[in-house]
Symmetry: C2
Subunit: 250 residues, 2 copies
DNA sequence: ATCTTTCACTCTGTATACACATCTCGGCGC
DNA sequence: GCGCCGAGATGTGTATACAGAGTGAAAGAT
């Protein structure tokens, strides 16, 4: 129906935020580069006030850094920053899994998780996995992690996990994509799926410690694989926000 | 020297943010109450633009919540939100302690921590502890936690811990104050100090798992004590941001 | 030739004006 | 009497104008 409706229904602030985030993640704005409000006004089409609001939000999100003398610059991340972010998110998800297990979850609440699991099982039956199936996998995996997080029923924890996932390389989709760059990608996906199965089982049986441990192992595996993937950057076409990684020459 | 210098050197945005935070934490603005920008402009003395920036920052900080129809309201927290926030921070600090232990810390870096420890030891020798000594304790305890966090040398983790401490009841000072409301406060402080001693020992000996475990236990103890303290609210004069806790009548 | 100083420009921080949406209150109709 | 509709007011979202600070370049002096 109305095609251009979004242009009016979405606020200028959100529009500017999305546009700037795209520019950062796509590498148009390089790490360390100062962001000019005026230039942002031109490229986003919004005015200075919404642009400023967007800049503040992106700073809180972790993509920008405030410059003491004023203004913002694109943040640069080291490889260790990235692996730490993944491990951090794994630790938080571990806590979420433990909360879910200790506080108890009804069969009805667990249903969507099991559906996710079954759907992923179906996808992984393909060897090797097709490109389409892989992108379905990425979406389903993100959904699984989001559902698991919500099982904790802890708004502060959910909020914190969302924050920890804001950085693209730390999000479930992000590190799955990074792992997929490896030759043994298929095997990695299968192991990850096994982790998912175990965490659900642990939550069902109310084994908090086991649920937590498996999620942390899940993240540690991702960190190991990411390190491997970063060794041969030629395979990293799929890694989002590679532009954010500061190189040795910087 | 220059006393009024701050009024000009501090930006209007920061001034507004501090003023609004004070109003929220002191209970002038009640949980669930909508914040009027116009009213905020009057009470803070800043103009609308910096006030809006401050509101966005306070939302990201977790003290405010965006209203779908526009504007912001003061966020309300349940008792579980609070205990979850503390446990969350403990988990994060546990990770920081593990990072510190695994990555190794020089004797020179550990020095400030040990000074903190010794200073607190001196304070705790008083039985019962005086009011002045207690507020020194609160400051030293906060410093100890901040130093420990930095030992992780992980900017993403440090950032996340800072965020988790933004809510006053989740900060080190906050929950120490809450615990102090209990009759067995002195004993609690001594146990906490013992935890501090153990974590330093674990980091020195590069025992990551032990360092992490003790910090999590440290937080769990705080949660238990906070639950006790909340049972008899009459003792809670020192608990900051009690105004943020939503009551059963809400 | 190099260093220093000054001038000008650009950018951010702040203030304010304008437009539109939302909510409320009063009046009118059923 | 109750409900609905409209007008007004309040308040947010947005745009823009202005001031001050910081930066860079250019010119002059040593």
């Amino acid at each position: 129906m109305a095609e251009r409706e979004v242009d009016r229904s979405v606020s200028q602030t959100v529009k500017a935020q999305l546009a700037l985030r795209d520019q950062i993640l796509s590498g148009v704005l390089r790490p360390g580069e100062r962001i000019s409000e005026l230039q942002a006004v031109e490229t986003t089409g919004a005015s200075r006030t919404p642009v400023r609001m967007a800049l503040v939000r992106l700073e809180e999100e972790g993509l920008l850094e405030a410059i003491p003398s004023g203004g913002f610059m694109v943040k640069a991340f080291s490889e260790r920053d990235i692996s730490d972010s993944i491990e951090l998110r794994g630790t938080l998800e571990g806590l979420a899994a433990r909360f879910a297990a200790e506080r108890g979850v009804s069969a009805r609440e667990l249903e969507p998780l099991k559906e996710c699991l079954a759907a992923i099982d179906g996808l992984l039956r393909q060897v090797p996995i097709s490109v389409d199936a892989f992108s379905s996998y990425v979406a389903l995996n993100a959904r699984f992690h989001a559902l698991l997080t919500e099982l904790s029923r802890s708004p502060p924890l959910i909020r914190q996990i969302d924050r920890a996932s804001a950085l693209p390389f730390a999000s479930p989709s992000g590190f799955v994509m990074a792992q997929s760059a490896l030759p043994e990608a298929q095997q990695i996906l299968i192991i990850g799926q096994e982790h998912h199965r175990v965490v659900i089982d642990a939550i069902e049986n109310r084994e908090g410690a086991r649920a937590e441990a498996i999620m942390r192992e899940h993240a540690r595996l991702a960190v190991r694989n990411l390190r491997l993937a970063l060794r041969n950057r030629t395979h990293l076409g799929l890694l989002p926000a590679l532009a954010l990684i500061k190189t040795a020459t910087d």
